[in-house]
């Protein structure tokens, strides 16, 4: 049971780091760092939700921003139209989750039968539809200019919000870990590995894909809502392809199909983003930091398709293997 052992090790490290992070704001006061960490937690949730699709079910969606945007707008519009109270925060979350679930169900039902490239194309187009929709429906969204809103005082407190997002991320992490170890999760992996075979075992793969995309959509919408709260501002960019690309970059650079990879990817990207933009003073090229990520991403897909986590486990496995090989060589040689 080596695989599950490695899994447990990852989870234990994750839990330990999370505990450290809980204590962190109490001992070290740095507003900037707090904000960055909050961002990381939010995007970690978003990236993990994407990993369910890409890493576990083998679905390439280019429209994940759809759900992120739905969550963000639900929250923002509730905060703007109603009082900035916790009750409405919850209501907004529920509405966002509900809407995402419906949208992902309908989209899934229509499109998940399609082949990979058609599906990717269609989701890209649908997300663009939401983007344009948000731009056109100005009475509700105020278009690309967007709008600011107030949030409950409790959430205005940076440390509170930091802790909430951290706890949510940890919860999502463990919930997903459980999810992928469940019989249902195993079927998802089977679908990614070999769709036809999964079907011939008697599993109805369309149901599985739809449920997976609903779960991913719901989590993405929660991430979107948190994102809106953290900015206290929303505009159409939450529906843009860049948001989907963020999720792609994070999961792929971190390592697809590992959950923890999404978290690591989120951390790496947010931190380097922060660091690279701080270098703008040195050279203007750092304003275009996304280029570095784009290139890094392409190289990762080409040469390390399993990302940071994948590369690390491969290294470890190789070391172990070489040991074994040496022994067996001696035996046969």
């Amino acid at each position: 049971m080596r695989v599950s052992y490695e899994n447990k090790l990852g989870s234990i490290i994750f839990l330990m780091v999370s505990c450290l992070l809980i204590v962190f704001p109490l001992v070290y006061e740095d507003r900037n760092l707090l904000i960055i960490f909050t961002q990381i937690f939010i995007f970690a949730i978003f990236a993990m939700s994407y990993d369910i699709l890409l890493g576990f079910t083998g679905i390439i969606s280019f429209g994940h921003a759809m759900f992120f945007g739905i969550g963000a707008y639900s929250m923002s519009i509730f905060m703007k139209r109603f009082e900035p109270e916790m009750l409405y925060v919850f209501l907004a979350l529920i509405v966002g989750v509900f809407l995402s679930a419906i949208v992902s169900y309908v989209v899934g039902l229509l499109t998940l039968r399609l082949k990979t490239h058609y599906y990717a194309m269609l989701t890209l187009a649908l997300a663009n539809l939401f983007y344009v929709g948000a731009e056109k429906w100005r009475s509700l969204t105020e278009g690309a200019d967007g709008f600011t809103f107030r949030i409950p005082d409790f959430l205005r407190e940076r440390v509170n919000f930091y802790l909430i997002t951290l706890v949510l991320m940890v919860l999502v992490y463990f919930a997903l870990k459980l999810f992928i170890q469940s019989p249902f999760g195993k079927v998802l992996v089977a679908i990614k590995e070999n769709e036809q075979r999964t079907e011939s075992l008697g599993f109805n793969i369309l149901y599985y894909k739809i449920i997976a995309s609903i779960i991913a959509g719901i989590l993405a919408s929660i991430a979107g809502a948190l994102y809106a709260i953290s900015l206290r501002f929303v505009n159409t960019s939450v529906f843009s392809i860049d948001i989907t690309l963020d999720a792609l970059l994070m999961t792929i650079i971190g390592g697809v199909g590992t959950i923890i990879g999404a978290v690591i990817g989120s951390g790496v990207i947010e931190f380097s983003h922060y660091w690279l933009t701080s270098l703008v003073k040195l050279h203007w090229i750092f304003e275009r930091w996304i280029i570095f990520f784009g290139i890094l991403y392409i190289l990762t897909v080409m040469f390390f398709p399993k990302g940071i986590v994948g590369a690390l486990t491969a290294l470890k496995r190789k070391a172990r293997h070489e040991k074994k090989h040496d022994q067996s060589d001696k035996m046969t040689g």
């Binding site: 999810f179 019989p183 036809q196 075979r197 079907e199 075992l201 599993f203």
Partner: protein, 255 residues
């Protein structure tokens, strides 16, 4: 005695080409039947019709007396028809045990459970391990399927089929593409399954010695039609079969 699987005038056409044409047969429970015939005779197509990968253009298929012609692959599997594929068809990045466990899970009808770890289904692992023993895959539980040898992959394929615990097994060339040394092991596995006398087996194969030893009955397909059907000895003696194999006018030179 009711037969477990029966076809009535079963056929499929691709354009003008009748790949399977008016095939009628009925197979009794626990019988071991082999299907032989030259390339392009329609053997795999017939399997695809039986297992639901292809839809028949005409005729009907009955499974345990029930007309299943319109049922999907999934439904047929759930009714009790399992099939192996000519190409190796396993989950490459899962371990051997996980591969089989998925099939056990399907058999136990655990479809949408998402809040319980698979490790809490101890019985599944137990069943899976027993099957790995039957299929001569002991000590390979932890190996990723893609790292198995070709022969072991074919065994894994059979193991997954067994795990589904279906009444009927459709085996499509279990020894295809195998190095000569690997063949006896597969033969042994199939023989073991046969000896348990709990399954009805339909086999497509080319290795004649294997077919002769295992089969209760042989069906010969030629150009989509059922050319002959009977006990192995009858088939060997059958002149039409001989000439079908050697291409048309075999007698021209023997006469």
């Amino acid at each position: 005695m009711t037969s477990i699987i029966e076809t009535k005038n079963l056929g499929i056409s691709f354009g003008n080409h009748k790949a399977v044409d008016q095939v009628n047969f009925a197979i009794d429970e626990h019988q071991f039947t082999s299907i032989i015939g030259p390339n392009g005779a329609g053997k795999t197509t017939l399997f695809n019709l039986l297992s639901g990968q292809l839809k028949a253009t005409n005729g009907d298929i009955f499974f345990c007396g029930k007309n299943i012609t319109k049922c999907s692959t999934v439904e047929r599997t759930r009714l009790g028809m399992g099939r192996s594929f000519q190409l190796t068809n396993v989950f490459p990045n899962l371990t051997t045990l996980e591969n089989v466990r998925l099939a056990v899970q399907a058999q136990k009808k655990i479809y949408f459970q998402m809040l319980k770890s698979v490790f809490s289904y101890k019985d599944h692992s137990e069943i899976a391990k027993t099957i790995l023993k039957t299929t001569l895959l002991v000590n390979k539980d932890d190996v990723l399927a893609k790292n198995l040898s070709h022969g072991d992959k074919r065994k894994l394929e059979l193991a997954m089929l067994l795990a589904l615990d279906t009444k009927l097994l459709l085996l499509d060339e279990p020894t295809a593409g195998m190095s000569v040394e690997d063949v006896p092991a597969i033969y042994e596995v199939i023989e073991r399954i046969k000896e348990e006398k709990t399954k009805t087996i339909l086999l497509i194969e080319h290795k004649m010695d294997m077919i002769m030893n295992l089969s209760d009955r042989i069906m010969v397909l030629f150009n989509g039609k059922l050319l002959a059907d009977g006990a192995p000895k009858e088939i060997i003696a059958n002149e039409t079969v001989q000439s079908a194999y050697l291409g048309g006018l075999y007698d021209e030179y023997t006469a």
